[in-house]
Symmetry: C2
Subunit: 140 residues, 2 copies
Amino acid sequence: MTKYVSLLKNSGLKSTFQRIHMLENIASCGHMSIDDIYEKVVKIHPSLSLATVYKNIILMVEKGVLTEVPITGKKSKYELSKEDHIHLICIACGKVEDKPHNLHINTICTSMSKEENFVLNKQQINLYGKCITCHATPNV
Amino acid sequence: MTKYVSLLKNSGLKSTFQRIHMLENIASCGHMSIDDIYEKVVKIHPSLSLATVYKNIILMVEKGVLTEVPITGKKSKYELSKEDHIHLICIACGKVEDKPHNLHINTICTSMSKEENFVLNKQQINLYGKCITCHATPNV
DNA sequence: CTCTGTGCAAAGCGTTTGCAAACGA
DNA sequence: TCGTTTGCAAACGCTTTGCACAGAG
């Protein structure tokens, strides 16, 4: 709670009820689309406007508080910015799970960037497939 | 040329002027947005409709001829489907470059999926940063 | 000849914008 | 109090849809 107040303050954003609860929900769900966020927060703050969610997402991505996770064939999800990691994305249920970022991959990506004189900024490694649950129940 | 005729046929799609030239342009540019494609093809086929481009993109992605490359903060680009590889995406000029997919990465991703009982389907590894050209000229 | 694909125009939606009121610091 | 943020409603722009005609096989 207080965590997000200072996170916002450090990013030069005022801490409002809307922003704090957007961050809390994103933190607890891990990855959420705009609509997911709106639906969650509007429950505890019925006058919330979707436009407010959009404005804040744009602002918090700009400030580096949130990171967009673009997903093939679907709408982007958003997560709290953190160290590089790998996303396991279920193509059936849409769930996104984090896996710690293997050191070897980091090394390979870094040296690859050097070879190309590419000034590396951010890595996004997405593995698409079926989570164990969806794989077990193919007809849903 | 004939290449795309058979690629389309094998995918169960009729080979039309529009589709062949969409594929030719995507092949020669590597990665294109919907608008890029439309602008290129409309030059040699002025009556082309943007709706046709949309319809064909959807169809060809479904059939596996094309692959969508979703990019943080931008519109998706499309490429001819091919073996897994890595994208170097310039956050300044938007250029996308392919790098061969390192065997080690493949191994790591595969074993990681196994650990999680995740049935791996497709990998998308995107490295965001600045290409050497944009890095040299920061004020554009 | 038949079925698929195209082009046009309209409809649909997700996203953005402008502005007055509410709010945080 | 002052600058920022919110909520609403309208505007926007990308994408999809329906339909009649054209084209591929």
